[in-house]
């Protein structure tokens, strides 16, 4: 399956072509070329998925890890070396399909959405760069290749968030996103150092083989501060994952990242890049289960807390993209929890399958939500809910597709979110009732804030619009329809037949008890939202006033930004950087200058000795001779 390497090469060639040739290309041509390139990658990915799942993938009834391509890139010594390659296994093939599909839809949509923007060519070049990095990340054969593409993903995200580079908020947001994730990546890097030092390899195949026996034998000892090497390494890797996947407390960059163009938010900050952390944990899953089970518990609790925390904040936000951003954080946390509660193999590994399933379905409906929100923003030229309302009449396609996505994320059958969410809830139920309860509450909150969003955009009182809002052009609504169709059908896939923790297909039925509980809470959430928001009323304001303190805190995102601001500005800048700069200029450099001054002063002091007066010289000479002679005689 060597052709798979072209899935990655086509986007990078597109990037080079579009960015170097941007001066000579017409915007429209550049857009079409970029989209065509992505279409090629998409078709190749579909073909890969077909070949992998139905023709070549299975060996003895188990989906194997196939190395389709590999080449040594950099050698570090006798043992360690970074390879660049393509690894095919159920999750990487699934990711190829997800990324290329969403990316292609976003490319198409952008042709309309970004029309007339300055830097249109640059935009498409950067989309290609991002797609290249993301695809390289998921097919990585070894953890260092993953880290390399991980960083590239971060950089292309930085460039895309800051696409409107003359806008100060966009510049600040892009900087924040990069630095926060960089900080998390530091953990990732140190984790890799510890892991590779102990096991002597970066290779995923060797690391995860035989229930991660390599890591178990080499890393269970060697405790540092009371934790084993494996626990250290795997927690640090999770730190990297938490940064990219916006887990509390490293989630602060994601809401700000909404400053980027909306299609970018759909691609990067909803469907692909932000799930990279989940993908990393899934990729290293055997190590977590067998070498560092404690870390898995940590992941579960961090995930559950983040899911609840983000859902509560989402209720209070008024910028529609920020609601979606917090909803993304909450949903990704769901996937993390699913991995945390999972075991290995067969039905014990249901959480793993559920996590990947939710990743898969979420990518489509969340991209759809963002693109729909983009169409709305395109129509009313604002992100704020208060400038919207009653839009269902003007934008029927956007309205219907958005509704489908809202139903899916709320877990209403037969839309895709229902199936994946149910699987996560049932995995959590078997593992830990408390975690299940939290997720169940979050499911209700999700339905509530999504329908709050839906009603406030499409229902409620109609605003006085400056220009008549209109439906998006076909190039924008076709992607909406495609994604809506996927949202309707992809839940029916027998996902556990393809993706499982150990590669062996199993059948996971629907747990009707849990399913009805989750549907009920979803409907309850929708009902409450309908009561509050379907018609304009003072009910929301009254409820908010009743809980004023809490509402205020939540709408300020529980002041996490301020906390981080304090840490960076006050502590790092004021208490570390400024003293260092001062110390350097005044103490160290001062010492050097003092040495210089002292030399100068010393020479000035002895300067009168060289007076040029012969009498003085003679006097000194005679006295010196006398003293020396007397001295010699006395000794």
């Amino acid at each position: 399956m060597g052709f798979t390497v072209y899935i990655i090469l086509v986007p990078i060639v597109m990037f080079l072509f579009l960015s170097l040739g941007s001066k000579w290309l017409k915007p429209r041509t550049a857009g079409i070329i970029g989209t065509a390139g992505m279409a090629v990658s998409t078709l190749l990915s579909y073909f890969t998925a077909y070949r992998y799942f139905f023709v070549e993938g299975q060996q003895n009834g188990v989906y194997a890890k196939i190395t389709a391509f590999t080449a040594e890139w950099l050698r570090f010594g006798d043992k360690l070396h970074i390879d660049m390659g393509v690894l095919l296994d159920p999750i990487s093939v699934m990711m190829l399909v997800v990324i290329t599909t969403v990316s292609l839809m976003v490319h198409l949509y952008s042709l309309g959405y970004m029309k007339g923007e300055v830097g249109f060519q640059r935009y498409f070049g950067l989309l290609s760069l991002f797609s290249f990095s993301m695809l390289g990340l998921v097919v990585a054969t070894n953890i260092f290749q993953m880290y390399i593409f991980w960083e590239l993903v971060g950089a292309s995200s930085y460039l895309l968030i800051g696409f409107y580079y003359t806008k100060p908020t966009a510049v600040a947001a892009s900087k924040k996103a990069f630095i926060v994730t960089r900080f998390a990546d530091l953990g990732f890097l140190i984790g890799i150092l510890i892991l590779s030092f102990n096991t002597g390899t970066f290779d995923f195949g060797l690391l995860t083989a035989d229930n991660a026996s390599l890591a178990v034998t080499t890393m269970s000892g060697g405790s540092f501060l009371g934790l084993s090497a494996a626990t250290w390494a795997m927690s640090l890797l999770f730190m990297g994952a938490a940064g990219k996947s916006a887990m509390f407390p490293l989630h602060i960059w994601l809401p700000d990242a909404m400053e980027g163009p909306t299609p970018v938010s759909a691609l990067i900050h909803a469907a692909t890049m932000v799930v990279a952390g989940v993908f990393l944990v899934a990729r290293m899953f055997p190590l977590y289960v067998f070498a560092a089970p404690d870390v898995l518990t940590l992941i579960t609790y961090v995930g559950a807390f983040t899911a609840l925390f983000a859902a509560v904040i989402a209720i209070t936000q008024t910028d529609i993209k920020r609601v979606l951003a917090f909803s993304t954080i909450s949903q990704i946390a769901y996937m993390m929890v699913a991995l945390g509660v999972s075991g290995m193999g067969g039905h014990a590994g249901e959480g793993y399958t559920a996590s990947m399933f939710h990743l898969f379905t979420h990518a489509f409906f969340k991209a759809l939500l963002f693109l729909g929100a983009g169409a709305v923003i395109h129509a009313v030229h604002s992100n704020e809910m208060e400038n919207m309302g009653g839009l269902r009449k003007y934008m029927p396609v956007t309205h219907i597709t958005f509704l489908i996505a809202c139903l899916a994320i709320s877990g209403i059958p037969p839309f895709s979110g229902f199936f994946s969410k149910d699987e996560i809830l049932s995995a959590a139920f078997q593992h830990d009732k408390f975690i299940f309860a939290v997720l169940w509450v979050v499911a209700g909150l999700t339905a509530f804030y999504m329908f709050r969003l839906y009603y406030r955009i499409f229902w409620g009182a109609e605003r006085r619009y400056d220009k008549h809002p209109h439906e998006a052009p076909a190039v924008m609504y076709v992607p909406l329809i495609v994604l809506a169709a996927l949202t309707c059908v992809c839940g029916m896939l027998p996902f556990s037949k393809f993706v499982s923790s150990d590669g062996a297909p199993f059948s996971a039925g629907i747990n009707w008890g849990i399913a009805s509980a989750s549907v009920l809470v979803g409907i309850a959430g929708i009902a409450v939202a309908t009561w509050f928001y379907k018609k304009a009323s003072d009910r929301p304001a009254r409820a908010a006033a009743k809980w004023a303190g809490f509402w205020d805190a939540a709408s300020h995102k529980f002041y996490m930004d301020e906390v981080w601001q304090f840490v960076t500005k006050k502590i790092i800048f004021r208490c570390v950087s400024r003293p260092i700069a001062w110390f350097d200029r005044h103490v160290i450099d001062g010492t050097m200058n003092a040495l210089g001054t002292m030399t100068e002063k010393a020479s000035e002091t002895i300067e009168p000795v060289q007076s040029g007066k012969v009498q003085t010289y003679a006097l000194v000479f005679v006295f010196s001779v006398l003293i020396i002679t007397v001295g010699v005689f006395l000794l």
Binding site: I148, G162, P168, I179, S577, M592
Partner: protein, 490 residues
């Protein structure tokens, strides 16, 4: 005649040719053709070296030696290994891009520039301690005039400070070199021959310290780095490029070639002290850069951090880390030259380097700005550019040690990558992005062709190492064999 001597003879010939005429066109022709020839010669040396290496297992190739002063056994002895070949290539690339960045400079400037080049190339080809030291001094002296005459700001102060501090380092160095010569028997100054002799341990302690500090001053070793911010800020563009890009590498190269290679046992025992100092350099330089407001100061502190990493990695005494150190020298040399050339482009138009007075330059000079972003990415270690390769090699190599002290230090050093991202993105965000702060800036033009030439050439080299590192890595790794044999004796 040995092919290596050509590298010294061409700049010498240029220097003489420049003395003849003051005509600007003539001067430009001489320096561009001359440094073009130097680059060609450097490439030729690399090619010949690779051919020789395939058939020979000698540590040093293309060697030759002529007696220069017999009573002290001083020879003009030259020879190269993979590391010096790479340093020569780096120097020739930076030298020619520096010429293009100094397109409008007068003849006298280039006279000193050529002298500087003689010193640099002579240093990298020398195998004799004394001639090496001689060329080292030849490279340092012109710096005083280049900054003092053609610099800006507090140029006299900066030139004086830089020269005096580096001269103090040289004094340490000369003592150290004489110490090596006499304690090793007083029969040879040749590094390769010296490496076969043993220096008594009680002497190794003080000689190692002197030599390491002596070279370390030029390699921006904490706390002897303070010449760097003032010196770079005052120096004209191409001098900053050459100074940070090449001269600072003289320090790292010397530490490695003389201090570690000849006194491996002292290196073993004293490395912890210097590891702490260089570790401080790495983190301290990065934090120091965060709040600077002058573009050149930011870059100077960043150089303290990046060059600190070179010395840090050398002191780890592991083969992988040392490979990383050499890669980092190359990477930093190219990257910092690129930075300074672009700062030169910006400064020559805005007449300020204060980041608070600039904003939105991306709109005004897109070409220079995009290059600056690339340089920034290289500096913060983005994969695909050279900085990533060298830093990762250093971190992985340094982490190979089993003792907790070195591993904790390594982890502390890795934190610099976050701080680097902070100051790079802060600068980029402030200077290039956002609205145009000063309306006068809207009239400014983008980079000229000669400025574009240097930027593109440097970016291509940075990307080449970043995308295909294994070739360079292999050459360095092989060349470390003799050093590793020395180190592994203990």
């Amino acid at each position: 005649m040995n092919i290596l001597s050509v590298l010294v003879i061409i700049p010498l010939a240029m220097l003489l040719a420049l003395l003849v005429s003051r005509n600007r066109a003539y001067v430009r022709t001489v320096v561009t053709v001359g440094f073009g020839l130097v680059l060609a010669a450097a490439v030729a040396v690399a090619v010949v070296f690779l051919q020789e290496r395939a058939v020979s297992s000698e540590a040093m190739l293309l060697t030759s030696s002529t007696v220069w002063y017999a009573p002290l056994n001083i020879h003009y002895a030259v020879g190269v290994d993979g590391i010096s070949v790479l340093m020569i290539l780096l120097s020739s690339v930076v030298a020619i891009t520096g010429v293009f960045s100094a397109w409008n400079m007068e003849r006298d400037f280039f006279v000193w520039y050529c002298l500087l080049a003689i010193g640099v190339f002579g240093y990298f080809i020398s195998l004799d301690l004394f001639t090496m030291f001689l060329f080292y001094e030849v490279a340092l002296i012109p710096m005083f005039l280049l900054i003092g005459v053609w610099g800006n700001g507090k140029k006299e102060y900066a030139a004086m400070k830089l020269t005096l501090m580096l001269m103090a380092g040289s004094a340490f160095l000369l003592t150290g070199i004489l110490g090596i010569y006499f304690t090793a028997g007083g029969t040879t100054m040749n590094i390769m021959e010296l490496s076969q002799m043993s220096i008594p341990m009680n002497h190794q302690y003080w000689i190692f310290s002197l030599v390491f500090i002596g070279f370390g001053v030029l390699g921006a070793l904490f706390p002897f780095h303070t010449w760097s911010p003032d010196g770079h800020a005052a120096a004209p563009t191409s001098v900053s490029m050459l100074h940070a890009g090449v001269l600072m590498k003289l320090g790292g190269y010397g530490c490695f070639r003389v201090a570690i290679f000849l006194m491996p046992q002292a290196a073993h025992e004293l490395s912890w002290i210097f590891l702490i100092l260089t570790g401080i350099s790495v983190v301290y330089g990065a934090y120091g850069a965060v709040l600077q407001t002058d573009l050149k100061y930011i870059n100077a502190y960043s150089s303290v951090s990046h060059c600190g990493l070179v010395l840090f990695a050398i002191l780890m005494l592991s083969r992988t880390a040392m490979t990383g150190a050499v890669l980092q020298m190359l990477s930093h040399g190219l990257m910092t030259a690129l930075f300074f050339s672009l700062i030169g482009v910006i400064y020559s138009r805005t007449h300020t380097r204060d980041i608070r007075e600039m904003g939105g330059l991306m709109k005004v000079m897109p070409f220079a700005s995009v290059c600056y972003v690339v340089a920034g990415f290289a500096s913060l270690g983005l994969p695909g550019l050279s900085g990533f390769v060298s830093e990762m090699t250093i971190f992985v190599g340094s982490f190979e040690h089993t003792d907790t002290f070195r591993r904790v230090l390594t982890i502390l050093a890795t934190t610099s990558i976050v701080v680097t991202a902070v100051y790079i993105l802060r600068t980029v965000g402030k200077v290039l992005f956002g609205p145009v702060l000063n309306p006068d800036h809207l009239k400014l033009g983008d980079a000229h062709w000669y400025e574009r030439f240097s930027a593109v050439a440097l970016i291509l080299c940075i990307a080449a190492i970043g995308i295909w590192p294994s070739g360079v890595q292999h050459v360095i790794y092989e060349s470390l064999q003799p050093v590793m044999e020395q180190i592994n004796l203990f």
